[in-house]
Amino acid sequence: MSFVEYAEFIQEGDVAIIFMGHDSMFPVKVQQGAQTQTRYGVIRHSTDLIGRRFGSKVTCSKGGWVYVLHPTPELWTLNLPHRTQILYTTDIANITMMLELKPGSVVCESGTGSGSLSHAILRTIAPSGHLYTVEFHQQRAEKAIEEFREHKVDHLVTVLNQDVCKDGFGVMGVADAVFLDIPSPWEAIGHAKSAIKKQGGRLCSFSPCIEQVQRTCAALAEQGFGEICTLEVLLRVYDVRSVSLALPDFGPEDTLQTGLHVPGEEGTPAAPGANATVTCRTAMPPREMAGHTGYLTFATKSLV
């Protein structure tokens, strides 16, 4: 397994996702002889994981069971250790498309943060692209290097521990795309411009506050970027459910039909009486959702 190539069977050293439910999964590093505790009991790596197919149902010691999944950047995003605020899949999807990333793309990124976006970039630019990712926080940079190695994508990525606003991306004229997620992106636009290929490329800056966006857009325009465009994407996840709706009891009907009893949606006849109900399938929005992650500002650097 690697984060850029699917494998059929679980092997020693792999990362696997133990899936117990939407909000209940975690990654494990598969090791001969190791054990993992879950609320359904113990998973023994040697017998329960190694050699089995990804996607298998594994019965834990207490009789409950879990699924073992192949890691993907999207599952990783849901399960990674947070060292910073992270980018989530909804934004990542738009960043990837709007930066026009594809196999072979060369990308510069700062900051690396918890590596959520980095993994998604690597998946998309493999097998021939490269990611230069700059992280000013030393601890985080080191952890990222370690993760990339474990996830077998280290050949595709260079991690630099420096200040992108002062020192740039460490490369010039090589990038098809630059991504910025730093407190003052406007200070890095110049470096971003020099990192981009001579014939041009795309840029994205992610910022939670509108003031950051304003300063970044001004810097982009000043530096000659075109197609400057700021957008925001929110995800509304629906919960699919069967719900019951009571039917009103208007009292005994006259011999003259007043036509009040309307059958329910699924054809249930509306029985008179206080406790009649109809059932319907619906998709409900959650009570609370992420109302804002950040603004995405995109721009094109072109030669002309």
């Binding site: 003031e211 009292g251 006259d254 949606e265 206080a274 009570r287 992420a290 109302g291 950040g294």
Partner: protein, 458 residues
Amino acid sequence: MANNMDDGIDAQCIIKEGDCVVMKRGDIFKAAQIQKKRKVIFEKQWLFLDNTIGELYGTTFEIASGGTLQPRKPKHTESSTEVKKAGTDNRNIVDDGRSQKLTRDDIETLKEQGLKGQEIVQQLIENSTTFTDKTEFAQEKYIKKKKKKYENTVMILKPSTRILAQMYHGREPGKICYLRYDSLAQMLTLANIHAGSKVIVFETCAGLVLGAVMERMGGHGSVIQMYPGGGPVRAGMESFGFPEHFHQTLHDFPLCKVQDLLGGRLSQDAPETDEAAPPKPEQQSPEAENMDTVPEAGRETEERDKRREDKAQERKTKMEEKRKKLLAAAALLEPRNADGLVIASRFHPCPVLLGLLKFMAPSRPFVVYCQYREPLIECYTKLREQGGAINLRLAETWLRHYQVLPNRTHPVLLMSGGGGYLLSGTTVLTSPAQPATGPAHRAEEPSPKRIKLQETDD
């Protein structure tokens, strides 16, 4: 307190014993009644509201030890904890869980020393080794979190639809069918609720929607609350603390008598079975009381009889009253000329709406709330088939709050996923002679063919 009685201050703005109020801290609201020496619980703390009496609505109180309240000095309505220096980024913060030098015990000590919440937060900031290294954004989050934890204040507000709708939505959304306050705002406006009109309300939202309608009527006109089951639910309405005359405009009518009313069987039919006993003997009982000619020995029996009679009389009077009220509500419904209809319930909106529309005058707005979209789709379809209503609109609103702070302006990170769905429309006269195929009908819903064309053209 006394100086609050200056000129120009409406007496209604002063907190009085017996008042219905709402306690507020941050975004947390809770309704209460001002009663002396009565503990109330708010955010896991016991409070006595005694000291709020005589103060103005809108005052913020510090919660002192023992749960007594002290009005806060003015000017610090929204306290601003001073932040001196902010790091430009957080590259230097090493996450070792040891950046706060104050221990939990230290904080408890500070609290015991009687330090106010705001002061504790300031202490925390001063003792945080990493605070000044954090970005402003991170600092803001830190302060907010700590404030919430250590600031012990409560604001006392006068109830209103704005406040109660937010309160219910925040505390007990299940009780109000998850009706979000902005959806309620839409309902009141779309139904053109105003003084002097006759409005039918059917809700299972704890009485909140009823109260909101009554607030907008200002005690003018009439409200008929249709209710399912044993009796109307009004707790939410009662939290508004309306003056007495508002209640005189409120009527109620049981859903289970709608067929009787429509069938004309209500006014002329016999009283209900438990009212069936002939009234004469009971009417004589007051006279019996005046008779003093009864011998001593019979006294006990007499008194027992009397008690029984009193009880029966009481029941009778209640029944009569109930019946009178029912007939009064029926009299309002019978002319079928209500000016507005507001529905927000856990019932399937389709039969409810089709049933209650019959009581409306033509050219009047109605609005139905439902937590789910599908039942309103059905409702819409049925109404289109049946006619009698135009201007139908199925909609949902999308509410977003903003944090507006220097260099830190952005939408609030957490938002409500949905506020429910609203179907609104306007009643019209149905003329059965003309089938519903005229141009106005066509203008409202394009035929399938036209939809097809639109879809490929645009």
